[in-house]
Amino acid sequence: MSPRVTRIVGFAVFAAFVAFVAVLPSFISDFKAQQYAYVGIFLIALLGLNILTGYTGQISLGHGAFMAIGGYTSAILMAGNEQFGGPISGGMKDVWTIPLAGIVAGLVGLAFGPPALRLSGLYLALATFAIAVAMPSAIKRFEEFTGGGSGINLFGTPELTGSATPVEILGRTLTYNDWLYYLCWTIALVAFAAAWLILRGRTGRAFRAVRDSETAAVSSGVSLARYKTLAFGISAAFAGVAGSLYAIASTFVNPDTFPVALSIFLLVGVVVGGLGGLSGLLFGAIFIHFLPLWSQGQDLGSLLPDSVIQGTTIEIPLIGDYVFKGTNVPGGPAIVYGIVLILLMFLIPNGVSGIFHRVGQLVARRRYSRSS
């Protein structure tokens, strides 16, 4: 396919997807709408992380911390922190806090850029990981700003957010969860378009040049300092927006809302979605939100042959008789999750974006071979 055709197809698919997102709530339950809202939130965070890791080649194990900064910015602006002895009285409407959360997290990301310049690879991974690890403790430490360990509760303040009351917007009445869904997905689609615009031009080329070879990038006049810092800033801003929506959707924040595991799962989502591709990230977001829930529902016993169910005794030399445990016990979901994750890495080496890319190549090859 020529680039022009590719672009037209791309726009058509995107438009179809927007239409799909717009009508989906009519066909699913209220609860499901809330679940899909979370998928939109993760998509925003993954878009940001992919700009940094997939396009610029800088591994971050600390994006949960940027989400925490965004989430806390929103929560504090809404609920205030005077009740803990802080200076902010709050009272801001939820939607207005979202861009501010993005800006605050983005500024922190920019500030993190210059020190990160000195580090690369695993050293950078450790440095970002350090932020993720330190974040919960830092939140507890600055109690007068953040409410410490018990966090900030937004539930039951309908004038701000976090209530089950219907929302009136554009002459329609939406249930609260449908409103949440549309809020998250509108921002997610805008974020998707923004990421595409950033990456298609000069800036995106510079990012990829930095990823592919720093030395070659510098000798072509690409400033490492400028573009690495910029990538950190943009990426953190996306994460901040996602964190803000996360706080709004879950109606509370506390230090455990953004655990270290979140940072790791964001990286998992980016790799599953496909590094250096945007379309696959949707599947990365679905993966990190739904796979834990799905594996919770699995009874491992149904996956195993009958001969190894509970109470079966196996004789092992030297050790003696071994009584096989029941399968419906804690730990089972984690086993399923781990196996699925490893198998996915075996089966789709370049993530879901890689599959799309491959299909595109096959289609193109057929076209060319037919015309010749």
């Binding site: 450790l126 990286l267 790799v271 984690a334 086993i335 399923v336 781990g338």
Partner: protein, 304 residues
């Protein structure tokens, strides 16, 4: 305000060296895998926890004595490490490094789930092979377990150094770490050397786990914090340097212990147990900003 004496100081150093010895062993495991496979093995801590559970099960359920169980666990871990490399890591070895990283994260989740599923979440007790006595050395009270830990850690490090330095296998292992293609050309069986590296790392982890369990108690989350410390120690020393990993582990152990000890003074009363980990990482961050390749690492020189 208590007055610090030299004995107090030495006390903290010895306790720090004992926990640092454990970090050093696990950091060494991380370095060995990083040198051969090029990734940080996130599952290293869980592999160690699994090994420790195997030792505990042999002792508690099957009536084995400690040292036979210890040796058997090392053997099982070694074979388990080789099997892990052959079954799980080898299929993804070509391609993006991040893919291997995600596989090790999958392995972390899988092994953690397996341990919880098989042995439950309640803490178990694994006794120390060195007993519970304490020795008074010039006013410094040292538990036998601490002495034993330091001795075992140093012994293993020396053994490993000997293996790498004086044996043919060690030479092959080093050759593979430096240049796999050329090593293959001169007849080194590269894949088996990589698997051997994983086996050695799993064995080191098993030792670290069995030395940790008596002091903190055996539960499925036991090695998670230790892994973070070991990661920090390995990076502090320079991720490509085994000697750096050992030095980094010991320094980190002493540093952390000193920080906890200082909390009794007014000047440091803001410091709490909770800040131990962030504080350690902060110190390492500062070190890295001054020396981006760690204390003993070599900056990577790349051909464009």
């Amino acid at each position: 305000m208590p007055v610090a004496t030299f004995a107090d100081f030495m006390q903290q150093v010895v306790t720090g060296l004992a926990s640092g010895g454990v970090y050093a062993l696990l950091a060494l495991a991380l370095v060995i895998i990083h040198r051969s496979t090029g990734v940080i093995n996130f599952a290293q801590g869980e592999m160690a926890t699994l090994s420790t559970y195997v030792a505990w099960a042999l002792i508690a359920h099957h009536g084995w004595r400690y040292w036979p169980a210890f040796v058997a666990t090392l053997a099982i871990s070694f074979l388990g490490g080789i099997a892990t490399h052959r079954l799980v890591i080898r299929p993804v070895e070509r391609g993006s490094v991040l893919r291997i990283v995600i596989v090790t994260i999958g392995l972390l989740i899988l092994i953690n789930g397996f341990v919880l599923w098989q042995w439950g979440g309640e803490p178990q007790a694994l006794r120390s092979p060195f007993g519970t006595e304490t020795y008074d050395i010039g006013g410094v009270v040292v538990p036998a377990h601490d002495i034993g830990t330091i001795a075992v850690a140093l012994g293993i490090v020396v053994l490993l150094w000997g293996l790498f330095k004086f044996t043919k296998v060690g030479l092959a292992l080093r050759a593979v770490a430096v240049n796999p293609q050329e090593a293959r050309l001169v007849g080194v069986r590269v894949t088996w050397m990589l698997a051997l590296g994983w086996g050695l790392a799993a064995t080191l982890g098993a030792v670290a786990g069995m030395l940790t369990a008596p002091t903190v108690g055996l539960d499925p989350q036991m090695m998670q914090a230790v892994l973070i410390y070991a990661f920090a120690a390995a990076v502090l020393g320079g991720i490509d340097s085994p000697a750096g990993a050992v030095a980094g582990g010991l320094m980190l152990g002493v540093l952390l212990n000193m920080l906890s000890y200082l909390t009794q003074y007014d000047l440091f009363d803001w410091f709490s147990e909770e800040l131990r980990l962030p504080m350690a990482l902060l110190v390492i961050l500062v070190v890295l900003l001054v020396r981006p390749s760690g204390l003993f690492g070599h900056p990577e020189v790349k051909r464009v």
